[in-house]
């Protein structure tokens, strides 16, 4: 394999032999179409991102947060991208690439349902049949996205093994791909998996930091002191960081899900968090060597987060590497802080964020001094999908910021 497929010690191609030829074919297509713009692929991709997706997304000054935290806080509004999350950048790129490669079927996994939704939209847009694998737990906690996928014409296949979250969904999609590899492209949803996926998904998302950089220069005449993004697999994260990699004066902060606790229950094989960058160690999962939540034998732990999109025991190999080299600072906040961040952004800025995104705002609230004078927070997605979860989870807790839903009781059940 070419050395470019590794990030230090991380990355690689740990997949069943049956998939290797497809991965070689994909590497070739990635190099030709994405890196070398063969047949004008990148032009078409950028055009469709503009017309179908609505790019560029705004860089917005956040008046209330800036006042509250005594810093200039800017919001990169990926929640305004079509579909309501950054995910379309990658989904559209990969579905288009599959088309250029002559594949005639699309499969994908999804956790929060945002990637599944984006893939279903892109597949409908480009007229490709599409099947999405989603864990049983996630189907139940992200119902609105299941409706959206179905409405766009995608099949949704429930995955019932294990806890029924993102990890199991990825495994099951890989099994489908091992069976159908000759006709099917697997649109992986984050910067995870075997090379070339981590590089390619990053490249499709790097439009986020490309715009951020230009918009900062235009609006501020300078680069921000920090860029803050939540991190599950890390695709919005690397998208927001990629073009700042060489700008050492810009601090890059990845906010992971601290879940309910950073402690680990070896006996039960449960890590009640998804703080892989902060607490994980090196291993091999889903095609790549990266940081993982695992027990001392190497069995993968069941992770937890209140947000389905961060609930994963692995992380992108490039982020793992950038944490080791010190370029990216991994931090985490727990479920409560994320829920409070959700309510705060909704009430103070009029933006209902995804629960994933809310972790970044939880971090800002707890550490207003850690982001410098000027910071850009990546608003990776909007929170419509999370309303049910947020109401339920909020009722169970005693949060600093809260919301009262008794209006339903006052109105009564009658129509």
């Amino acid at each position: 394999m070419s050395e470019t497929g590794k990030f230090g010690e991380y990355g690689g191609q740990y997949v069943p032999e049956a998939l290797m030829p497809a991965i070689e074919e994909l590497t070739d297509a990635y190099e030709r179409y994405v890196l070398n713009n063969e047949d004008g692929f990148m032009n078409e991709f950028r055009e469709r991102l503009r017309d179908f997706g609505g790019r560029p997304t705004p860089l917005q000054y956040a008046d209330q947060l800036s006042g509250a935290y005594d810093a200039e806080v800017y919001l990169k509004r990926e929640d305004l991208l079509h579909g309501g999350a950054h995910k379309l950048n990658n989904a559209l790129g990969q579905v288009l690439l599959a088309k250029y490669m002559g594949k005639d079927r699309i499969i994908a996994e999804t956790g929060a349902g945002q990637h599944g939704t984006a893939t279903a939209m892109a597949a409908a847009h480009l007229d490709m049949p599409c099947e999405i694998y989603m864990g049983r737990t996630d189907i139940n906690r992200q119902r609105p996205n299941v409706f959206r996928m179905r409405l766009n014409g995608a099949e949704v296949n429930p995955v019932t093994v294990g806890r029924g979250t993102l990890k199991e969904a990825i495994s099951e999609t890989m099994r489908d791909w091992a069976t159908t590899v000759e006709t099917t492209h697997y649109v992986i949803g984050s910067i995870v998996g075997p090379d070339p996926f981590p590089r390619m998904v990053r490249d499709f998302h790097s439009v986020i930091s490309e715009e951020m950089r230009e918009q900062s220069r235009e609006r501020l005449g300078r680069l921000p002191d920090s860029v803050v993004a939540c991190a599950g697999g890390g695709s919005n994260t690397m998208g927001a960081f990629a073009e700042f990699a060489e700008d050492d004066e810009v601090e890059l902060i990845a906010v992971e899900a601290g879940g309910s606790s950073l402690a680990v229950d070896e006996e039960e094989g449960v890590a009640p968090n998804s703080a892989t960058l902060s607490t994980g160690d090196e291993g091999v999962l889903h095609g790549a060597r990266t940081k993982l939540l695992q027990d001392s034998d190497g069995q993968i732990m069941e992770s937890h987060s209140v947000s389905a999109g961060l609930d994963y025991a692995g992380v992108g190999p490039e982020l793992a590497h950038l944490v080791d080299t010190g370029r990216v600072r991994p931090v985490n906040v727990d479920d409560d802080a994320a829920l409070e961040g959700f309510h705060r952004l909704s009430q103070e800025e009029g933006i209902i964020p995804a629960l994933e995104t809310a972790h970044a705002f939880g971090y800002l609230h707890e550490n207003p001094d850690a982001v410098g004078d000027v910071t850009v927070i990546n608003v990776s997605g909007r929170g419509d999908k999370d309303l049910q979860t947020v109401i339920e989870e909020t009722e169970q807790r005693d949060l600093d910021v809260d919301v009262d839903m008794s209006v339903f009781d006052t109105a009564g059940g009658a129509m």
Binding site: Y14, P16, A18, S171, R175, T180, L285, G287, Q299
Partner: protein, 281 residues
């Protein structure tokens, strides 16, 4: 079980080898020991003994479930090594597992500690479904140091340079994947088998075919097509699953495994006779 014959001897006899798979510790340690021994009695020439990993991406539903049962019953890498020492069979045992368990074992990073321990308890080699030749150098080196074999899987999609690369690294036998997809018993034999065997016709290592083989007739058909061995997993694991679900006595399940093993071995032998008659080698 430290003095079992090596894979060369097991495949070197004048008849096709029968290579069954079971997940160690399914549904529990004691029963599983009995099941593995039953396969040996039924005519196994080599046994692929699965070390359960929590994310078995190459496995279909049958073996996924077996892995869950074994993990729930407490199987770990250290218990697995004890299992290998406890089980009383006189055929080579090959460890089938995923790379992360090999990589994590012991104090040093990398596969060396695991391979050293494997050699110590008498394992003969490895099949690692998520380790393609490109990533296999560290494991190959460790296997060479401790005298163990590293089996690679040739898929229906494997062609050209990838075949050459595997040919250089493989030892023991080559695992010919009979069809695309994951493991699981099927009711027919894939035509892809013949093509795959033809592509590696001139390899010196024995060729064992697996994925989807269920019955004696399938085994015969595969040996007629030129295979030196027949690998059967899910069809046997299905017997364990059924027995476990219906609370059948362990001895009854063991008997059924032995009977099925015998049928498969007989099928392979019949295939060899038919091949000889048809003027094959």
């Amino acid at each position: 079980m430290a003095n079992n014959p090596d894979l060369g001897t097991a495949f070197g006899r004048d008849e096709p080898a029968f290579v069954p798979y079971l997940a160690a510790g399914d549904p529990d340690y004691e029963a599983s020991i009995g099941y593995v021994e039953a396969l040996a009695r039924g005519g196994a020439d080599v046994i692929e003994l699965g070390l359960p990993f929590s994310e078995p991406i190459a496995e279909g539903k049958t073996i996924q479930d077996a892995i869950v049962r074994a993990l729930d019953a407490g199987m770990t890498p250290d218990r697995y090594f004890e299992f290998v020492e406890d089980v009383d069979v006189d055929v080579p045992l090959v460890c089938m597992t995923y790379y992360n368990l090999i990589y994590q074992y012991g104090d040093e990073d990398g596969p060396r500690s695991f391979v050293e321990k494997a050699a110590d308890v008498g394992l003969t080699g490895f099949v690692v479904p998520d380790l393609p030749a490109e990533e296999a150098d560290p494991l190959r080196t460790a296997c060479d140091e401790f005298g163990l074999d590293l089996v690679f899987i040739v898929a229906p999609t494997t062609r050209g340079e990838r075949l050459d690369e595997m040919r250089e690294q493989v030892s023991g036998y080559v695992y010919v994947q009979a069809r695309l997809g994951t493991t699981g018993a099927r009711d027919d034999v894939s035509d892809q088998t013949d093509e795959s065997l033809a592509r590696i016709d001139d390899w010196k290592v024995p060729k064992a075919v697996g994925f989807g083989i269920k019955k004696g007739d399938h085994a015969a058909r595969i040996v007629r097509a030129g295979a030196d061995g027949v690998i059967v997993g899910s069809a046997l694991v299905d017997i364990v699953a059924e027995g476990t679900e219906s609370d059948e006595p362990v001895s009854a399940v063991a008997d059924r495994l032995e009977t099925r093993a015998r049928e498969l071995k007989q099928g392979a032998l019949r295939g060899a006779r038919e091949r000889a008659k048809a003027g094959g080698d």
